[in-house]
């Protein structure tokens, strides 16, 4: 009701945290990306459930490096979170450090994942498993790279002094995307590395 609504309250102006359009936008973007990965994993399970091939072709996967890599990625998520907290408390130096650390960890993840790829005895054209493995981890890799570009931009903007404790929506939004990239890896990791141990 127009009458009961408080219409003459002071209101914040522009992109402010959860009230910014971008925050909502990235949530919906994540919803559609989550569905993309859901369909990718559906493809995997659909084909795996009907296959007569040796699955995975190289036998049970070795868990050590991928496990470490998963921890690295999760740690980088924590760093992005810490960076945001520091901005909220106006600890700009710390926030730059955390963001840089998150970025470095992300790059480590990419490097380790690339070396995992190079260790495989098959590629995406060798067999069905190879097609699935490289396409799905490749999709994830693509998201990591996009995420790293975003983190890089955020790092730059923080360093340029664009944000303070009142204006940092971009960090929240970019951070959400990075958290998504990390969480979705857990599903990819479970599918390719953990589940083969269960059957």
């Amino acid at each position: 009701m127009a009458e009961t609504m408080q219409l003459n309250q002071p209101l914040p102006v522009g992109s402010e945290g959860r009230r910014s359009g971008g925050w909502w936008g990235v949530l919906v973007l994540i919803a559609t990306e989550v569905s993309l990965f859901a369909y990718l994993l559906f493809t995997y399970f659909y084909l795996a459930s009907q296959t007569e091939q040796h699955w995975p072709p190289e036998g049970l996967p070795i868990l050590f490096m991928p496990g470490v890599n998963t921890l690295i990625l999760l740690t980088s998520s924590v760093c992005v979170w810490a960076c945001e907290r520091c901005i909220q408390r106006s600890l700009m130096g710390w926030s730059i450090t955390w963001m840089a650390l998150a970025h470095i960890l992300g790059i480590c993840f990419v490097a380790i994942q690339l070396s995992e790829w190079s260790k495989k005895t098959y590629d995406m054209t060798s067999n069905l498993y190879g097609s699935l493995y490289f396409t799905i981890t490749g999709f994830h890799m693509l998201h990591v790279i996009v995420g790293l570009v975003i983190l890089m931009a955020l790092l730059l903007w923080i360093a340029l002094g664009y944000f303070d404790h009142r204006r940092y929506a971009a960090v929240t939004i970019g951070g959400l995307y990075w958290h998504f990239v990390d969480v979705v890896w857990l599903f990819v990791f479970t599918t390719f590395y953990l589940l083969p141990y269960l059957y």
Partner: protein, 664 residues
């Protein structure tokens, strides 16, 4: 935000929005026009982010695609008019029916509804633009480029040729060696980007961009329809984009997803395609049903019966729509138990549609109908909707579907659904909103002619297709023998399709004539209840001079309806003219909670769209370096786009504060 209260002293970060009025010609109104106007000439043309311009572009482009798809259909109807015709070669026929399907389903049906919604949402919701105006422009440009991309190979005789649902392995490299399917695959991935960003924009717009008081229970049904479609697209489109991308990988990179010899499964394609396909069917009809639910009551002189029931049924339809994709696959040899489940669900889905039908009939019954052209289209739509729905019940019955599937019965059913539930409301909607779009009324005499010719032509053309299907005529055959007994029905269908086309032609003549010579329209020529009729026709660039305060579902009928205590305030409202501004409200109750800074016009959407389309061209033609270059160009455009701007208060303003004070 807890910090907000501490910053009361900084007007660029927090302020009380001024309430006032800005009648036409006042200094405030002139200032608003200057703020929101695009640059003149080609610069404004390429850079505009005005939702009305973009909406109109969507409408015009999609309508052109409708005409192209229609011409393709007419050529096919010439070929099928008599048995053993040789007007077309079998290959030409395959490309025609494939392009007809792609055009109508992907390039016409949803985009035309996006056009309506883009144009109308902010006007109906009391906003000055969509949540992401630049994203809106991007969505249009990519749609346009994807359409051109999909059509580019047609003149070379290499258009997609495996039907719009493109089953593998026929669409695989082994059986389809040309570029045809690659064009389709890449084009669909590109179009998927447009659909997705469009959907994101609609969802966030609904959550944020409503006038104060426009609570969730007061938004027009068109908004519910488009919202439901947008949510569905967010979840469904990745499926088809992925399917086409995997197909492209199979064809060009040598993967094995659909490769039978190496363990791939052709049925995977059907699952991925129809998991998308069925929700999509609802995405292209629910907003059109929304058009009827909003516009029909205007001509019945009473509010829609059962607003909440219709809104809920819209969402229920979509929810169920995600669980019935298997009914496109009954013939694939699935276990009978699975088929029973999906068949029963498919029957259940007609219940929410029934709710809408009874709501419309009750609205007409209890109202005092005025027989204007739009009313005829909406009433005609109800009949076609019922026929399409009932034939849908037949195809949901599993054993019957095993006969009807892939025959002309399905062709008849889907045309009743898509033409009846999409084209008729769309044409009716254009008659209805034409005065708002262009400030002139459409001609009533020509309008009634166009309705009757279209309605008779449509039924003459498509009803016999049911019969052809029951006589066993399979779809997608380029010719048939005289002894099959299909000659008469096909001749009638062909005649009907040309009559229908004549109706469309009359409609187009009416549009052109009315654009030049139509009677000038007042702001609310139909005496309609919703907010878009509160402003002059055509709407000013800024939409609402002041952001109104809304107190009911029918702001313009409040003096005649008793809908609660409050009265909407349309002339007095938030002025918001410190740059392009709009009020942001809470998702459910629409309580103001932020002053949003809206972006200026920008070239980046155009270039981002162009570079991404060119990137897909590079992929198609295997120009690797060019593709990489385009990816870099896209990233650069995005970076420019996203760069935090002071004007939008995305970053800290220049004024320095004493840290201690700011931090409390």
């Amino acid at each position: 935000m807890t910090d907000a209260a501490q910053d009361t002293f900084d007007p660029s970060l927090i302020r009380v929005p001024e309430i006032g009025s800005a009648p036409i010609g006042s200094a405030a109104e002139i200032c608003l026009t200057e703020l929101w106007e695009s640059a003149p000439g080609w610069r404004g043309w390429l850079s505009t982010v005005d939702h009305k311009t973009i909406g109109m572009r969507y409408l015009v482009t999609a309508f052109i695609f409708l005409l192209m798809g229609g011409v393709e259909a007419l050529i096919m109807r010439l070929q099928l008019a008599r048995p053993d015709q040789t007007l077309l070669t079998p290959e030409q026929y395959s490309q025609l029916f494939t392009m007809h399907g792609i055009t109508m389903i992907f390039l016409y049906s949803l985009p035309i509804l996006s056009g309506f919604s883009n144009y109308l949402w902010p006007l109906m919701l009391g906003s000055r633009d969509m949540a992401f105006p630049r994203l809106n422009a991007l969505s249009y440009w990519i749609f346009l480029f994807a359409g051109i991309f999909l059509y580019a190979s047609f003149p070379l005789g290499e258009a997609p040729n495996a039907g719009w649902f493109n089953y593998v392995p026929f669409a695989g490299l082994e059986y389809n060696t040309g570029p045809n399917i690659d064009v389709y695959a890449l084009g669909m991935v590109l179009l998927g980007i447009s659909t997705t960003v469009g959907a994101i924009n609609f969802i966030v717009t609904l959550f944020r961009m409503r006038a104060p008081g426009m609570s969730i229970g007061r938004v027009p049904i068109l908004v519910w329809g488009t919202l439901t479609a947008a949510v569905a697209n967010v979840f469904a489109v990745p499926s088809v984009s992925l399917a086409f991308f995997l197909l492209w990988l199979d064809r060009q990179m040598g993967t094995h997803f659909f490769d039978v010899l190496n363990g791939g499964k052709p049925l995977l394609w059907q699952h991925l395609f129809w998991m998308f396909g069925h929700p999509w069917v609802y995405a292209i009809v629910l907003p059109a049903m929304g058009i009827v639910s909003d516009a029909l009551p205007t001509f019945c002189r009473r509010p829609l019966v059962g607003y909440s029931a219709v809104a809920l049924s819209t969402m229920a339809t979509m929810l169920l729509g995600f669980g019935v994709w298997i009914h496109h696959m009954f013939a694939t040899g699935l276990p009978a138990l699975a088929m029973s489940f999906f068949g029963a669900t498919s029957l259940v889905i007609s219940i929410p549609s029934g709710v809408a039908v009874f709501a419309w009939i009750a609205t007409i019954w209890l109202g005092r109908p005025v027989f204007n052209t739009p009313f005829l289209f909406f009433a005609g739509f109800v009949i076609l909707f019922v026929i399409g729905g009932l034939s849908g019940v037949m195809t949901a019955a599993v054993p019957l579907d095993l006969q009807l599937n892939e025959t002309y019965f399905i062709v008849a059913h889907l045309h009743y659904v898509l033409l009846g539930i999409n084209v008729f409301p769309v044409v009716g909607g254009i008659y209805y909103w034409f005065p708002k779009f262009f400030g002139r009324m459409m001609n009533e005499t020509l309008g009634k002619w166009s309705f009757w010719v279209m309605f008779i032509g449509f039924n003459l053309g498509f009803f016999p297709m049911h019969v052809a299907g029951l006589l066993g005529m399979p779809r997608r055959i380029y010719t048939y023998a005289p002894h099959m007994g299909w000659s008469t029905v096909n001749m009638v269908t062909s005649v009907g399709s040309f009559v229908f086309a004549a109706g469309i032609l009359i409609f187009m003549v009416n549009m052109l004539v009315s654009l030049k010579r139509g009677v000038p329209a007042t702001s609310n020529p139909w005496d309609a209840p919703t907010l878009e009729w509160a402003m002059p026709s055509p709407p000013p660039v800024y939409n609402f001079a002041v952001i109104p305060f809304i107190a009911s579902r029918h702001p313009l009928w409040e003096d005649r309806l008793d809908e609660g205590a409050g009265r909407s305030s349309l002339d007095q409202g938030y002025l918001l003219m410190d740059g392009r501004e709009m009020i942001g409200t809470t998702p459910l109750d629409a309580i103001p909670d932020v002053i949003l800074k809206m972006p200026e016009d920008s070239y980046t959407p155009f270039f981002l769209g162009l570079f991404s389309a060119l990137g897909f061209v590079g992929l198609l033609l295997h120009w690797q370096d060019f593709t990489v270059l385009m990816v870099l160009a896209c990233s650069l455009s995005l970076m420019v786009w996203m760069w935090p701007r002071k004007a939008l208060v995305q970053r800290v303003p220049d004024i320095k504060y004493d840290k201690g004070v700011a931090h409390g």
